[in-house]
């Protein structure tokens, strides 16, 4: 084997071993090493960092405990970018029940879990424009969750 060919093979093997993407997941999940109140604050700041507006926080745990059920902290965070939400609702009304976007966030002992649906898996479509929207939505969530995985 010629040296150039050898080095090319090494580099190619290296890229193959380390660079392949993992499979797309149906649910996006992240564990934050922060306690629930810290994680909740960080989520709000992270949404702001990526130009999203927090529209509402649904306090599921409050409703459950008021009815006598035991639960740890559990909230649903609704968020979005107003122009995008309006455009999606107008052009793709089938997305309306999923707007604004939402993330479930709940305490797991000293950590906090975040869960969201992978929109690319939820809406399988042949429409390239809608595919691009779903991809952006997915990438946005990935960025948010990546930030949430670290303190």
């Amino acid at each position: 084997m010629k040296p150039n060919t050898f080095y090319r093979a090494v580099i190619l093997s290296w890229l193959l071993l380390t660079g392949l993407p993992a499979a797309a997941e149906d649910l996006l999940m992240a564990r934050s090493p922060m306690t629930f109140p810290e994680a909740m604050l960080k989520l709000q700041n992270t949404l702001k960092k990526y130009n999203h507006t927090l529209s509402r926080v649904q306090r599921v745990d409050i409703g459950l405990t008021a009815k006598g059920y035991k639960t740890d902290k559990y909230r649903i965070v609704f968020y979005g970018q107003v122009e995008e939400i309006q455009q999606l609702a107008d052009e793709y009304p089938q997305l309306i029940p999923y707007l604004p976007h939402k993330i479930a966030i709940f305490a797991e002992e000293e950590d906090t879990m975040l869960v969201a649906v992978n929109p690319e898996m939820l809406f399988e479509t042949d429409d390239p424009k809608l595919q691009a929207i779903m991809k952006k939505w997915h990438q946005d969530l990935q960025r948010i969750f990546k930030d949430m995985r670290v303190e």
Partner: protein
């Protein structure tokens, strides 16, 4: 010769760097794909703990690899069919940091025995935790967010992912030795003979011949959205929906516009209204099965007036169910779907 020395050094560096890269890559993959359920330190959560010494001793790398590759269909653990072999290897290397020693090596010989006798023993000794048909315990691996009876869920022995990953000798060793730190006891100590245990293994293996019951298969639904056109104007449709929600044993939570909180107060679009509602008993039941189902929550319908038509939209819970890879949700999702359709039909027809 001059070329061979630097080549040898380069290869040594590559091997060393490759192992270090494997560790880093393994940690990166673990944090991205596993830590959410199994915990950063492997102590479990929605997923089972990976740090139990008995678990680390008893599972082979091949068991871990097959489990990562094929998951546990319908039992929360997802499959990673397109993860590269190198990534799986790096991930296993990372998980093995919690191993107290080298894992057992099992003979590859299949176990022989009497499946009929195994079935009798199974119903007597195993069915209480693993279910009469091997369907496993209820709920996710562990969860700290809610109270529960057992520290760890009993695995589904009829699951195709489990049967693919677990060899006969692995199942036999688990039955013989039990699994410390879990409710799984040693059946030798419980008085069974080695032949009884062989019979049990053969019975468990026989699950491969039986198709999974319908309720253990993921739902196959394409449409993510339920949509109905109302026969009434927007105001009447909303009033009808509120009546129907209460009539179907739900509590009204609130009514708001779709863009509420996103646009300044007073600038909302009144032609897109959301009604939120809940049945807390149902919600509590769903969260006990899978704490991630907040994504369904709260129940809602959206009423939209556009081009002279009034349309009512809702999520299709039966489409969301398979995304959780948890077939225990099938029944609840079907019930929720029926409730949505009943409420919307009551209000719009």
């Amino acid at each position: 010769m001059l070329f061979r020395v630097p080549l040898y050094l380069a290869l040594c560096l590559i091997v060393g760097a490759s192992q270090a890269a494997d560790n880093t890559r393994g940690e990166e993959l673990y944090r991205q794909h596993c830590a959410a359920c199994h915990g950063y330190d492997g102590n479990g959560g929605v997923g089972v703990p990976l740090t139990l010494p008995d678990f680390q001793y008893s599972v082979t790398n091949n068991y871990l690899k097959t489990t990562i590759r094929h998951g546990r269909p319908g039992r929360v653990m997802p499959a990673f069919p397109s993860m590269s072999n190198a990534d799986i290897k790096a991930l296993i290397q990372y998980i093995r940091q919690w191993a107290p020693g080298k894992p057992y090596r099992y003979p590859i010989t299949p176990v022989g025995g009497d499946a009929k006798h195994g079935e009798q023993l199974y119903q007597q000794h195993c069915a209480a935790c693993h279910g009469p048909n091997g369907e496993g315990g209820k709920g996710t691996g562990l969860t700290f967010s809610r109270p529960r009876d057992l520290p760890i869920i009993a695995p589904a022995l009829n699951n195709p992912g489990f049967l693919k990953a677990a060899s006969d000798q692995f199942i036999k060793a688990t039955l013989m030795n039990g699994r410390e730190g879990t409710p799984m006891v040693s059946f030798l100590q419980q008085g069974l003979t080695e032949q009884d245990i062989n019979d049990l293994v053969v019975f468990v293996r026989s699950f491969e011949q039986n198709p999974l019951p319908k309720e253990q298969k993921p739902l196959e639904v394409k449409e993510a959205t339920i949509v109905f056109e109302s026969s009434y104007d927007m105001k009447t449709t909303i009033a009808n929906l509120k009546d129907a929600i209460i009539g179907n044993n739900f509590i009204l939570i609130r009514e708001q516009t779709l863009d509420d909180g996103l646009v300044p107060a007073g600038k909302e679009n009144p032609k897109q209204q959301i009604i939120y509602f809940c049945n807390f008993g149902f919600l509590n039941q769903a969260l006990a099965i899978d704490p991630r189902v907040g994504l369904f929550l709260p129940c809602r319908v959206t009423v939209v007036e556009k081009d002279g038509k009034v349309l009512v939209y809702a999520i299709n819970p039966s489409r969301l169910s398979p995304l959780f890879n948890n077939t225990e949700l099938n029944k609840l999702c079907h019930e929720m779907n029926t409730s949505y359709i009943s409420i919307i039909e009551d209000a719009t027809l």
